[in-house]
């Protein structure tokens, strides 16, 4: 049997990984920060990926069905606030709080998915709307929702196994699982079909609405996980946690940098995680160089534009 061609998706991921490593290594060597190459340095770098990585894995699913989710930042803040409030420092409340948070994320995903798939509302507007509503309710209700997570729960953010943080293991484990879902399951095949040619998918008998709804639920659940992780990190969630991290726009940016088409139907998890790794390496490098926060943002903006321009030029001829 002839070997299958290597999916372009993997080559995009490999190139991004290589570029990120070069940036990181060169900066570390140039600034003489050799400590960056210790196990601690490397895991520190990887830990920078966790929150954005979780959101971006979910975002990849909605973008693959040619939708988008702008409400992820509000979902992150919402789960973080809910988790802190419900635990109130009591370890016995960890499980109920986690269930409540995931239930909340699931509900938001169902609403987003229903609006987009069955309400016929443009996803940009629908998820902007749900995001604004959540943000408003959270900000207004924050006075009543104070509290902090149980100390044991913080283990999620700071604990590790053989020197590798739990959170990093969780990100890569979940990433692998979702890549499996995309490439080896019927759901994955239908996600690519719906994003690649909605009319063709419909004529092939695929219930496109349900596929889009499922993608939105997956996206919101991953945003919820990111919210739980951040709550564990900061101890007490605030309504501005997601917004200040720009998780909505950055998750879209890394997904597109990773080679997923905004028009849907092409892309995958490997590229997205490579895009997240690029952002993490840049952040670490900017820190080593002591670049000021505003200039950091300017450089990030340039990098997003360059990366997407490279994709546009590579894919010329059949950019959807």
């Amino acid at each position: 049997m002839k070997m299958g061609k290597i999916r372009p998706q993997f080559s995009v991921a490999a190139v991004l990984l290589l570029i990120s490593l070069v940036i990181f290594v060169v900066t570390a060597v140039a600034t003489g920060e050799m400590a960056q190459f210790s196990l601690q340095g490397i895991t520190g770098l990887l830990q920078r990926m966790v929150a954005l990585g979780l959101v971006a894995v979910g975002q990849t699913f909605v973008i693959l069905v040619a939708s988008i989710d702008l409400s992820v930042a509000a979902v992150i803040s919402g789960t973080a606030v809910l988790a802190s409030w419900m635990m109130g420092g009591d370890p016995a409340m960890i499980v109920p709080a986690v269930l409540l948070c995931l239930g909340f994320a699931l509900a938001v995903g169902l609403v987003n998915g229903a609006l987009v798939a069955f309400g016929g509302i443009n996803p940009l507007i629908a998820t902007l709307g749900t995001g604004l509503i959540l943000q408003g309710v959270l900000s207004a209700g924050y006075g009543l929702l104070g509290g902090s997570v149980a100390p044991a729960f913080q283990h999620l953010a700071y604990g590790s196994l053989f020197g590798i943080p739990w959170s990093v293991l969780a990100l890569f484990g979940l990433g692998l699982a979702m890549a499996f879902v995309l490439n080896r399951t019927v759901l994955g095949a239908r996600i690519f079909a719906v994003g690649g040619n909605p009319e063709g998918a419909r004529l092939a008998g695929i219930r496109t609405g349900w596929v889009i709804l499922t993608a939105h639920v997956i996206c919101s659940l991953f945003a919820g996980l990111a919210g739980l992780y951040l709550a564990a990190r900061v101890q007490a969630g605030t309504p501005w946690l997601g917004r200040d991290g720009i998780y909505d726009l950055e998750s879209i940016a890394v997904t597109v940098i990773g080679g997923t088409l905004l028009a849907g139907g092409k892309g995958g998890i490997a590229g997205t995680l490579a895009g997240v790794f690029l952002f993490a390496s840049l952040d670490a490098s900017f820190n080593m160089l002591g670049i000021d926060a505003f200039l950091k943002q300017v450089l990030r903006g340039f990098i997003i534009i360059v990366a997407v321009a490279v994709h546009a030029i590579r894919g010329r001829g059949h950019v959807a």
């Binding site: 019927v186 040619n197 009319e199």
Partner: protein, 499 residues
């Protein structure tokens, strides 16, 4: 033998048009049945009824002898009907295997039927590709295949679902000769395997070579169905065009046309290997051709919407700046597109705004609004000269009839006093009475010393209005006919049959 497919007395009416009038059609297993007809004869409506996209107003469909009600494309597919359209429904970024199995993936036992059985799918894909004679790998990405190969993937998709009725709509339109021959071989092979094949094509030599029976449709009615021996090319052509000319075209001009106003010399562009033509003031030049003849490309080229790759063009005595709509307009050509709603009008704006569109585009942005040529009075005068009928000219143009919309667009261009007007399908979707008014306006504007080009699929219209007709075939001008040419002559040239 029982027919695989029987359509009995199918009728379908759209507002104002009887698209199908009691048309009957059948196809046997192991038979190629060709459907011929001009644009608008009802071929695609009939196939949309068969594919479950349209519900017929009357008539019944039998598949393998039993009556079927096809209300959704999915039901048609389940009944064993596969329609291969000119626009393919593939996933460009996915592999051939993934495309063939879209929506019908094979799964492994257990795991709640959620895990793909990729090895099994790849294996069946290899077998299907072999059956359609495609020399491609099941792992190839579809976007990297040629159109011909993509079409074979589409046919493989149909065979996976065990389609017993396969409809091919102009399958060779986008193919070169060699690929077209391969496709015909495949069709013969499928016929040998007992598939019922419905073949829609404008290419007469192909129809003659492949069809066992031929059906001709005209104006939504069945003209005849004949076995191949009795369906000669001349018989098909005359059945396709046999229609009375209606007497509402303006008379030919009394005087001879003036100087040359537009001239193309060996202009080349995508899909147009070399176009030379000339147009004189006072002349109406018709351009005929079938759907894939390149007449649409020629219109886009003249309108500046298609980049030329060589050759020279002159308009009103100056070199013509092709490849840029704005500069073409500035040089003196007004374009009235076929799809008025999408390309011609700003539907939610007033009649007056629509009439002012070209003026506003071409005059400086700092020109005083509401004064000079922009004055309400000037715009309204132009509209009433064209006899545009509206409650008032501040009304949304979307509320007007097609005929009045078209007249408003003519007024828009006349405000710029162009040397040449280019009409594409000028009376599509316009009722009979308004058609006559449009034709008279075209004649009048020509008589004022302008050159007019009419690109149309409506042969009686072209014959009635044109002083001269160019017939296109495969991107070139196949021939030129004088005023008074017959539909047969045009059809023969547009089918590529030597005159």
């Amino acid at each position: 033998m029982n027919p695989a497919l029987e359509m009995r007395e199918i009728s379908k009416e759209f507002p104002g048009v009887r698209a199908l009038d009691a048309v009957s059609f059948d196809c046997l297993p192991g038979e190629v049945h060709a459907i011929c007809g001009e644009n608008g004869a009802g071929k695609s409506t009939l196939m949309k009824v068969l594919g479950g996209s349209y519900r017929p107003d009357a008539g019944e469909i039998r598949i393998g002898g039993s009556v079927m009600r096809l209300t959704h494309p999915r039901e048609a597919a389940q009944a064993g009907i596969a329609i291969i359209h000119q626009e393919l429904s593939l996933l460009p970024h996915r592999s051939v295997t993934e495309n063939i199995f879209m929506g019908h993936e094979l799964v492994r036992k257990g795991f709640a039927g959620m895990l793909l059985d990729r090895a099994a799918m790849r294996g069946r894909a290899v077998a299907l590709l072999q059956r359609v004679g495609a020399r491609i790998s099941p792992d190839d990405i579809v976007a990297e295949l040629s159109i011909a190969e993509q079409q074979l993937v589409e046919i493989a998709k149909a065979l996976l679902l065990d389609a017993r009725i396969l409809v091919l709509d102009e399958p060779t339109a986008a193919l070169d000769d060699r690929d077209a021959r391969h496709l015909l071989d495949l069709i013969r092979a499928l016929r040998g395997q007992g598939v019922a094949l419905v073949y829609i094509s404008h290419r007469m030599p192909e129809v003659a070579a492949i069809a066992d029976r031929v059906t001709v449709l005209k104006d939504g009615r069945l003209v005849w169905t004949r076995p191949q021996a009795e369906a000669t090319i001349p018989a098909i052509v005359s059945a396709m065009v046999g229609r009375d000319l209606k007497d509402f075209y303006p008379a030919a001009p009394a005087s001879a046309p003036g100087e040359t106003v537009l001239q193309l010399q060996d202009v080349r562009a995508a899909g147009l290997p070399g176009i030379s033509l000339s147009l004189r003031r006072g002349e109406i030049l018709g351009v005929a051709g079938l759907e894939d003849s390149g007449k649409g490309q020629l219109a886009r080229l003249l309108a500046g919407d298609l980049r030329p790759e060589g050759g020279t063009a002159r308009l009103a005595g100056e070199p013509m700046p092709l490849g840029n709509p704005r500069r073409v307009i500035a040089a003196g050509l007004g374009y009235l597109p076929a799809d008025r709603k999408r390309e011609g009008l700003t539907l939610r704006q007033s009649v007056r705004d629509n009439a002012a569109l070209a003026l506003r585009a071409m005059r400086p942005a700092w020109a005083r609004p509401g004064a000079g040529v922009f004055a309400k009075e000037a715009l309204d005068a132009g509209l009433s000269r064209m006899d545009v009928r509206a409650a008032h000219y501040g009304q949304d143009i979307g509320a007007l009839s097609g005929g009045n919309q078209q007249k408003a667009i003519i007024a828009r261009w006349l405000a710029l006093d162009p040397a040449v007007l280019l009409f594409v399908e000028p009376t599509r979707g316009i009722d009979i009475a308004a058609k006559a008014a449009i034709y008279q306006t075209m004649r009048d504007t020509a008589d004022q010393g302008r050159g007019i080009i009419v690109v149309s699929s409506d042969l009686p219209e072209l014959i009635g209005i044109s002083d001269r007709i160019l017939v296109m075939h495969r991107g070139t001008i196949q021939g030129e006919l004088p005023r008074g040419a017959s539909e047969q002559e045009i059809m023969r040239l547009s089918l590529g049959v030597a005159a």
